[in-house]
């Protein structure tokens, strides 16, 4: 039993999963309140990644930062959160709010329009080349945690810890604060919440802000640990985040977190073990296939997702 490989895959999976979880949270929150699939969410992540890159350049670049490295990273994340948050609010205000009463497929098309617009605007403004975070210049690869023969680069730990911190903060917000209560009430029954005096529009705006801020932060984390960003990256992360949200039970916050981890681990392990499992017949080319098959079977077995509640329709 190759324990090194297992632990390595575990670390990989948790890193990926943390990022997916952050994206899934934004999806879940918005769906819970508006029953809307925000397909432009992945592109908010992409914009956040570019904002972070811009801040990195502004602070002197990875080779020669003008302030301490931890401060650089913190500022990048904060800037991306603010930028992402405001972008999310703008998307809600201009693309989704006019469609509150429209059939559900209309906001989907609108979201796709926003996605095209954002991707190609970034392409227009920044060019098509991949941009690099040069993270090894920022934090050397040798800096990390030793675990037996295994070496875990500190950046992965930063990603996992930041993601956990943000998820924890969100959890506190949703369960302990007044805003959180308003969000849960609006998600449960929008009309009743309005009748109870909750300003539903403001709650929705704040939800979008928080969800998109998380996506923006995820963008920076992706850049830090996977080095390169480009205008097209949002698509894949959006898809995986969406999957994670549904698998975890869409509308549920702990579900998004667990769903994200599940998808990340499934990806890592399917690449790592597919050859062993299929005795060499399928290579890592088919790892995606295996991951999707697992997901399909899971959805058929438990359609409401891990933490979702089975839908009870009232007649």
């Amino acid at each position: 039993m190759d324990w090194d490989k297992l632990v390595q895959l575990l670390v990989n999976g948790v890193t990926l999963g943390s990022v997916y979880a952050l994206v899934a949270l934004g999806f879940s929150m918005v769906y819970g309140i508006l029953k809307l699939l925000n397909l432009a969410h992945g592109d908010v992540l992409m914009v956040g990644a570019f904002v972070g890159w811009g801040v990195l350049g502004w602070l002197g670049g990875a080779q020669d930062p003008t302030v301490a490295v931890w401060l650089v990273i913190l500022l990048m994340i904060l800037a991306a959160m603010v930028g992402g948050g405001f972008l999310g609010v703008a998307i809600e205000r201009f693309a989704y709010r006019p469609l509150r009463r429209a059939p559900r497929i209309a906001p989907l098309i609108s979201a796709l329009g926003v996605s095209f617009f954002l991707q190609n605007s970034v392409l227009l403004l920044f060019g098509a080349n991949f941009r690099s975070y040069d993270s090894f210049d920022l934090v050397d690869v040798g800096v990390g945690v030793e675990w037996g023969p295994l070496h875990v680069w500190v950046m992965r730990i930063v990603v996992i810890v930041s993601a956990l911190a943000m998820m924890g903060g969100l959890w506190l917000l949703v369960t302990r604060s007044k805003l959180g209560k308003a969000m849960r009430a609006t998600a449960f029954d929008r009309e009743a919440a309005a009748m109870m005096g909750i300003d539903v529009d403001r709650v929705i705006v704040k939800t979008f802000f928080i969800g998109s801020a998380l996506a923006g932060a995820a963008g920076v984390l992706v850049g830090l640990v996977f080095f390169q960003i480009n205008h097209f990256m949002g698509f894949n992360y959006g898809l995986k985040g969406f999957t994670a949200a549904v698998v975890g039970g869409i509308g549920s916050i702990p579900g998004a977190m667990v769903g994200g981890l599940f998808i990340g681990l499934a990806e890592a392990f399917s690449v790592g073990y597919i050859e062993d499992l299929t005795r060499g017949r399928l290579g890592s080319a088919f790892s995606d296939l295996v991951a999707f098959l697992i997901l399909v079977i899971f959805m058929l077995v438990r359609p409401q997702g891990i933490f979702g509640k089975p839908e009870v329709k009232k007649v």
Binding site: T15, A128, N129, Q228, F232, G272, G283, S284
Partner: protein, 381 residues
């Protein structure tokens, strides 16, 4: 309903207008050989300008426009570049090919950038006697005689594969190699050929595969054994090769990355130790080409580029030279341009002179292997 009817009526009007506009386009052109007045010549560019492979096409387009502008200034010509964004999709490339064929001012095509585009456009161009010169389509069978008006300025994969195999097996003395492809029409045949060649030399090869737009290779790296010396990575994304080598270092593996020509990019693939094979001596390092690089940097404000940009520059040069010769008597036909392209003999920025073989491959053809140390490139073989 009333608003709907008005909307439908307007939509119908718009539809008729748009379709009529699209229909009333420059001439019906059914005769393959045609005369252009040589006053309004354009060259078509066929490659991906948007989408995940957009950076490839944009780099090539930039060098093409640079080359055409330079040529126009030096020779008093007024060639224009017409864009054809294939979005990396074959049906779009085919429709664009028809569009190019129907444009009577278009005398040559630079492209298709991707081999797929050549496959679907090759016989359309052949029927129209329209020369197409590619700066990046390396699939071997494109020059097996099936497309008589297709040329390329880069050598094909049948040459690159064996060269990499020889270097890895003999010079690097690798006993245990991992070959990774990126699931596209460029990398899969190349990776398979390299795998076969290495196995024939008793090298242990294991195969991995990633998707062309993957950015995280940690799990593939976890599969790389600690006794693997070399990871051969067939990719068109130089930054992916960079990430792969970073993550190999991160997990403490001793394997180094050997990238195929798609990974070549002094600004994006900068491992601590690595190798890359590319089809010509790098203009970055060839002193005679340095002036050209400086000029390009001025033109593009120091935009990054890899191997395929300069190659497309050469393709553009082939086309402009041929068209200018054809237009020497005031008139030119596409067939004439194609004939002159076949007889091309111009100085190449990669050294020596560029000519074409009977099937459209460039002569001379050579792949150069670079060793990269701390991001610095040095040719080794």
């Amino acid at each position: 309903m009333r608003k709907g009817l008005i909307a439908a009526g307007l939509a119908a009007l718009v539809a008729v207008a748009v379709v009529t506009a699209a229909v009333a386009k420059p001439a019906a052109q059914t005769t393959p050989a045609q005369i252009a007045a040589c006053t309004n010549v354009s060259l078509g560019f066929l490659g991906p300008l948007t989408g995940p492979a957009g950076f490839l096409g944009q780099e090539q387009l930039s060098w093409l426009r640079f080359g055409v502008q330079k040529y126009n200034k030096a020779n008093g010509t007024a060639f224009k570049v017409v864009l054809g964004d294939t979005q990396l999709k074959a049906p779009v490339a085919r429709t664009l090919a028809r569009r190019f064929v129907a444009d009577s001012n278009l005398m040559a095509v630079i492209g298709g950038s991707e081999s797929q585009a050549v496959v679907v456009s090759g016989n359309l161009f052949e029927k129209a006697d329209l020369a197409s010169i590619s700066g990046s389509a390396t699939q071997t069978n494109l020059t097996n005689g099936q497309f008589k008006t297709f040329f390329r300025v880069v050598p094909n994969d049948a040459i690159q594969g064996p060269q990499i195999v020889t270097y890895v097996a003999k010079n690097l003395k690798a006993k245990n190699v991992v070959v990774i492809d990126s699931q596209d029409d460029y990398s899969l045949p190349l990776a398979s050929a390299i795998t076969r060649g290495l196995r024939a030399r008793n090298v242990t090869v294991s195969r991995e595969s990633v998707s062309a737009d993957d950015t995280d290779f940690s799990s593939v790296v976890a599969n790389v054994d600690s006794n693997v010396n070399v990871v051969v990575f067939a990719t068109q994304v130089a930054t992916a090769a960079n990430t792969l080598s970073n993550q190999l270092r991160e997990q403490g593996k001793k394997a180094i990355v050997f990238g195929t020509d798609g990974a070549y990019s002094p600004s994006q693939f900068k491992p601590r130790t690595g190798y890359v094979s590319v089809f010509a001596p790098d203009p970055h390092f060839d002193p005679s080409a340095r002036a050209l690089i400086r000029e390009y940097n001025r033109y593009s404000k120091n935009k990054e580029f890899g191997a395929f940009g300069p190659a497309t520059y050469m393709a553009g040069l082939v086309a402009t030279t041929a068209v200018r010769s054809a237009c020497a008597d005031g008139e030119a036909t596409r067939a004439e341009v194609t004939r002159l392209t076949r007889r091309t003999n111009i100085p190449s920025i990669f050294g020596g002179r560029l000519r074409f073989s009977a099937k459209g491959d460039p002569l001379p053809t050579k792949f150069v292997i670079y060793r990269i140390t701390n991001g610095k490139y040095a040719p080794v073989g």
